[in-house]
Amino acid sequence: MILQQIINGLSIGAVYALLAVGYSLVYSVLNFSNFAHGEVLMLGSYIGFFSLTQLGVPFVVAIVLSVVGTGVIAIVLERIGYRPLRLRSAPLLYFMISAMGLSIFLQNLTIVTIGPNFRTYPDIISTAPITIGDLYIGRLDLMIFGITLLSLLLLTWFIYGTKMGSGIRAASYNMRVASLMGINPDLVVAIVFLLAGATAGVGGMLFGMKYTVYPWMGTLTIKAFIAAVVGGLGSLPGAVIGAFLLGITETFAAAYVSSAFRDLFSFALMILIIVIRPGGLMGVVSQEKA
């Protein structure tokens, strides 16, 4: 029973991880939370859905279309909503508000244009679970876990193994000094949004397959945001650890306490962590000095 719950927790945690990384990436470079990330995920989910149903392309092509689409969307959103603020070094509060505006805009635009109804993805994979002894592992869950792991590995390779990746890491320490070293800040920001958007695209497809597609599914990413906060905003390993911690907490709360209060436990976990460690588990508490 406990092992089964851990498996369920890991399967939810994996998707949270993929999305939490998107929040943390943007935070690490720009120091604000991109509240519109959830809406990018939602758009990715729709791109995947329409590619599968309208264009009738195979699953792999759909996922590529979704990733490319959300990557481009994320860059465009940065250009519209954040770049002007960045150029005049506006207070961080304005970034947050702008992100919130983008989120409201995209969500409601989707409701008005595509419609508020829930849409179900066509079955990609058999729904019969794999049984090992007493344990049930859904084929879809396994596939989601695999795709998430692959995406995270690719991302890790990019950040830690390429020249552009070290540019991003440099910019996350100090954007101004990095730009003095010949790193183009606009390019770094664009790449960061491309990566965050791409992970949201994969996440959107996975969420769509596991649940359904609907305009306000972006609010699901609140959980991913909590995971990023728990792990420490700006830290990629932190985001992944936070996500798995949250996934397991949630499934255990749902199984042993009450499924109605599941979300209460996520919020409680977050408050607890940021009270004990204000920067999150792996985050760096930035000391402001006068």
Binding site: G81, P84, M96, S103, I104, F225, A260, A268, E288
Partner: protein, 297 residues
């Protein structure tokens, strides 16, 4: 006055009350609060239960709702007000969602997600109007007082504010407390106006709508927030046909304001005798110039 117009005015007044504290907390003190709906929920449910279960007078029920909501802000603020911008925003969002979940699941007391019907409709236009005007005047004077200026100092640079001896945490607590009290009051008035409450009325959407009002009116102006609350309550009534597009426009306007005019509609302009005199003098001089022009012609 037609009941329809009266209804709009009552809702506008309630929104003004809900926005005033937010203007102080987010606009003047610089703490981005994403959980205003949580305080509205608490105020609405406490006031309603006081009326329905304990049959206390309306004024006591309203006061109880506001006070309870304000008291909740103290334990909530202790850990969260120390947090930096994003963390505080998400913590308040978490608080609002948690409040909604608790209300939804305490079915015996709150009626769960079906809500509480049949609340006596005691909220009338004069009551709302008086409360909104009194609260507006109080907040208006608070922000220009020494205390209000301390809040602005915190918003501009918390470290520097601390360095010149402002107890930043204390001032944030006060702003948070006032915000919670006013939102609780607004919640109580709302439940006794609509006559029915359910948790779905106080979702993230509600928090967003209220914070948009503050941003739209001008984050550094109480007058702006009040004006925005009135305009944005009345506008959807006027533009019924475009109701679906309202929120799309809200989002676009918020981004547009941040990108082009972050000071909002009124910037830091406030309604006062001096500012009115300035407008009057401006008009007078323009008028007299015109008169001179006519003479020449």
């Amino acid at each position: 006055m037609s009941p329809y117009l009266q209804g709009i005015l009552i809702l506008a007044g309630i929104n003004v009350l809900a926005v005033l504290g937010l203007s102080l907390l987010t606009g003047f003190t610089g703490s981005f609060c994403f959980g205003q709906a949580g305080f509205l929920t608490i105020g609405a449910y406490v006031a309603t239960l006081l009326t329905m279960e304990l049959h206390v007078p309306f004024a006591v029920a309203l006061l109880g709702g506001a006070l309870f909501s304000a008291l909740v802000s103290i334990p909530l603020g202790l850990p969260t007000l120390k947090l930096k911008g994003d963390y505080f925003a998400i913590a308040t969002l978490g608080f609002a969602e948690a409040t909604r979940l608790i209300v939804e699941n305490l079915e015996k007391i709150t009626g769960g997600s079906r809500g509480i019907p049949g609340i006596p409709t005691k909220t009338s236009l004069p009551i709302v109007l008086v409360l909104a005007v009194v609260a507006s005047i109080c907040i208006r004077f608070y922000v220009v007082s020494r205390h209000g200026r301390n809040c602005v100092a915190i918003r501009e640079d918390e470290t520097a504010a601390q360095a010149i001896g402002i107890n930043t945490f204390r001032y944030k607590q006060i702003s948070f407390f006032i915000n919670a009290a006013l939102a609780g009051l607004a919640g109580g008035l709302l439940s006794h106006y609509v006559g029915f409450i359910q948790p779905a009325m106080f979702g993230i959407q509600k928090s967003t709508e209220l914070i948009v009002m503050v941003i739209f009116g001008g984050m550094h102006s109480v007058t702006g927030a009040i004006l925005a609350a009135i305009i944005l309550t009345a506008l959807p009534e006027v533009l019924r046909a475009a109701a679906a597009w309202r929120l799309v426009a809200y989002g676009a306007v918020v981004v547009l304001i941040m990108v082009t005019r972050p000071q909002g509609l009124l910037g830091n302009w406030e309604l006062s005798r001096e500012s009115l005199m300035a407008i009057w003098n401006g008009l007078k001089s323009r008028f007299s110039k015109k008169a001179v022009g006519v003479d020449h012609g």
